[in-house]
Amino acid sequence: MTQTPVVPDAPAVPAVRLEHISKEFNGSHAVRDLCLDIAPGEFFSLLGPSGCGKTTTLRMIGGFADPTDGAVLLSGEDVTALPPNKRNVNTVFQSYALFDHLSVADNIGFGLRRKGVPKAEIRERVGAMVDLVQLGGMAERKPRTLSGGQRQRVALARALVNRPAVLLLDEPLAALDLKLRRQMQVELKQIQREVGITFVFVTHDQDEALTMSDRVAVMNGGRVEQCGTPEDVYERPESRFVAAFMGTSNLVSGVYRDGAVQLDGGPSLPVGTRPGIADGSTVDVSIRPEKIWLSDFEPGMPVVGGVIRETVYSGPTTTYLIELAPGVTVAALEQNTARARMEDRWEGGERVEIGYDPEHCLVLGR
């Protein structure tokens, strides 16, 4: 047996185990040497930009793509050589891939009919599923007459009704408008809790991944850059890519020495002692805009001076662009809460001080 990453508190047999899988297309790697364990009942997201290999990974779990190397295990059983129809997984496709010539009920019942489930039971399970995804009264309609959101629910019900061990979802919400997407995110999460099936969810939307997932694997260039809880990958990114991909992040560079980073032509930022980083080496410091304080500093907090260059009001929040040194600008985010008054906002050109907790700084060596 090869070594695979250890998941905290994971049961002995993961629902999905990917062992060193690779996928080559015409000599270039879409996925390379990827290892993952997904626990039963987990809502697991594969997150990354387009072309990072997340959909290919999902297709290898579903059986639609054969790994060039490595093995796919479902509940401990090696299914690498099995076709899709022999795997206990179902997929919600990005295009929904509904059968237009069949009614909603017949679409949902398709998988059960293939398995030879008795007619009465099919009717009962399809009915229950129609209710679960709130499609009551639409069972006899043709998919073409439904709205995008309703078609999405049919695709979900058609997969879930088979009670698969794992449900694969390939950017299922990508085609919906923003408001409907937010609503479906909440609903999907509720349904997942209700049915207790392992969800493997592919998305390029970090908000979506953070909102819904128990764990997220951030992928880049066919590899997993970081895998952990939403808090882990957002608050404690382990690489420059993850820091930049998970929301906005300030990235400034300088020279590390004695627990502080001297910015090029600017102030020195105390970041705490970093054991892994040599004195005198050039580093990047990353800090989230919402982790920067503009007032009410806590005692002992490092404080640096700067000049407001831009004030961007965007409803619930206001973003300030603050120049710490010529060419070194950071963004700071303030909530427009009830206590914050409009007239208290800073204007361009004003001198301010910013404070931060060194713990929130990510120091990345080069």
Binding site: G62, P84, N85, N90, T91, Q94, F110, G111, R114, N162
Partner: protein, 284 residues
């Protein structure tokens, strides 16, 4: 300058729209008269009570009656229906399979096959006819309804494939994957999902092929045996010995049948709720 130049323009346009396009209308009328007058004459004289082909004496159905008592013509009609039906079934099965193969097979071989497939559409039919005749003679095969069927199927596959190919290409590949994801084998996915999605185009091409083969003369002439002969060939032979008004009756019935079938072919996609029944022609 610019102000005076722009003002007369709307007036000129109004005057232009009032004038009738006499030449265009005249051309159109002449075109339709030349096209449909001979056919109208055939239909008219099929109801003539006399044998004359120039003077209409009165309405009667005697030539229709004569046709249904002519055992040779009836035999030809039966053979034509049989040949059309077999050619329709054969070319649809092979044509659909070819369309699926051409679209799904990625590679140089597929695109070559796609080009070769188009050749029968542009080859003069007489060349195909002579070539078929030489082939059957060379192989020592006796000409009969079977040889007509083989020739007609070969000729018709291209039509089916042309109609079906763009439909197959427009299918979402995820739909077949979804069927397999839900437990269907490759064959079941084809039967339960892909073919139903193609059904309107399949039916439309089937009706079209039936009509084309039923009317076909050239290919049938070269590949048929002596007795029975397909209806079109039989009519041609009959005309050589003087025109009987019975031929007018046959022609009128063939016309009615063809119009019905073509209308059906155009209507089928609409009946299935697809927009634009005429897309049969463009294959879109």
């Amino acid at each position: 300058m610019s102000a005076t130049a722009t003002t007369p323009r709307p007036r000129r346009r109004r005057r232009g729209s009032r004038r009738r396009p006499v030449f265009a209308i005249a051309t159109t009328v002449v075109f339709f008269v030349l096209l449909y007058l001979p056919i109208a004459m055939v239909v008219l004289f099929s109801f003539n009570s006399q044998k004359s082909l120039t003077v209409f004496k009165g309405f009667s159905l005697r030539w229709y009656e004569a046709f249904f008592h002519d055992s040779v013509l009836l035999g030809s009609l039966g053979m034509s229906l049989e040949v059309s039906l077999v050619a329709m079934l054969g070319s649809v099965v092979l044509g659909v399979a070819l369309a699926l193969g051409l679209v799904r097979h990625k590679g140089r071989l597929g695109s070559y096959a796609g080009l070769i497939m188009m050749v029968p559409l542009i080859t003069p039919e007489i060349v195909t006819g002579v070539a078929s005749l030489l082939l059957f003679k060379g192989l020592g095969i006796t000409l009969n309804s079977g040889t007509v069927m083989i020739a007609e199927i070969t000729f018709s596959i291209s039509y089916v494939t042309v109609i079906l190919r763009s439909r197959v290409a427009a299918l979402n590949p995820e739909v077949e994957e979804a069927a397999m994801d839900l437990g269907a084998t490759r064959w079941q996915a084809l039967r339960l999902v892909t073919l139903p999605a193609l059904l309107p185009a399949i039916l439309a091409s089937a009706v079209l092929i039936f009509a084309l083969v039923f009317d076909d003369f050239v290919l049938a002439y070269f590949t048929t045996g002596v007795d029975p002969q397909p209806l079109a060939v039989r009519i041609y032979s009959a005309i050589r010995f003087g025109v009987e008004p019975t031929i007018n009756a046959v022609g009128t019935m063939m016309l009615a049948g063809s119009i019905t079938l073509i209308g059906l072919a155009l209507a089928i996609p609409r009946l299935f709720g697809r927009r634009g029944g005429l897309d049969l022609i463009s294959g879109e």
